[in-house]
């Protein structure tokens, strides 16, 4: 497979694959969040449109999940800093 391309092309394809993999990671995050937020937000039985508040809940669910992830990182950093100070 690799032998059929020259060096420049291989580099180009490596870049392409890297970009696509970043995109794939993003997509898999979106699948994960859709699944999780669906369970949290969609409580009515499915009809022709979302029930009141469900759409807003989905958006909030994503935003708060990302807030949580940032918050956790900060907490862990603070804990680490504190334990280094007390040492």
């Amino acid at each position: 497979m690799a032998d059929q391309f020259d060096e420049a092309t291989r580099k180009e394809l490596a870049n392409f694959v890297q970009t696509e993999q970043a995109q794939a990671h993003l997509t898999s995050q979106i699948h994960m969040l859709t699944s999780m937020c669906w369970d949290k937000c969609i409580t009515s039985s499915p009809s022709t449109r979302f029930a009141r508040g469900e759409e807003g809940c989905l958006a909030n669910c994503v935003e708060r999940f990302l807030d949580t992830s940032l918050f956790m990182v900060k907490q862990i950093q603070e804990q680490r800093d504190r334990s280094q100070l007390s040492r």
Binding site: V17, S28, S35
Partner: protein, 100 residues
């Protein structure tokens, strides 16, 4: 490998190589799109079965089918809302990262 033998990098790659490159890119993208569609289908199945078929009978009833078809549309819509929100947030974070 080819660089080891001193292949000249002058000039454009052979047209054959260009078309093979394009074939690689196309195949890769198709595979990704397929994986994505499969994942979405699996999730829809799982979520909508849970919501719509609460007491499995000897066949899918009319109301279960209506529910499934609504659910499918809602799940796709949910995927789009989540996608939009997530991407907007990622872009926002990146922007504040570069300015900070």
């Amino acid at each position: 490998m080819s660089s080891f033998f001193g292949s000249s990098s002058s000039g454009a790659p052979a047209p054959d190589m260009a078309s093979r490159k394009q074939a690689f890119i196309d195949t890769y993208r198709q595979e990704m799109a397929l994986t994505n569609a499969q994942e979405l289908m699996n999730k829809c199945n799982e979520k909508c079965y849970a919501k719509c078929v609460t007491k499995p009978g000897s066949s899918l009833s009319g109301s279960e089918q209506t529910c499934l078809s609504h659910c499918l549309q809602r799940y796709m819509e949910a995927f789009n809302i989540v996608s939009r929100t997530y991407i907007a947030r990622v872009q926002k974070e990146r922007l504040s990262d570069t300015t900070a």
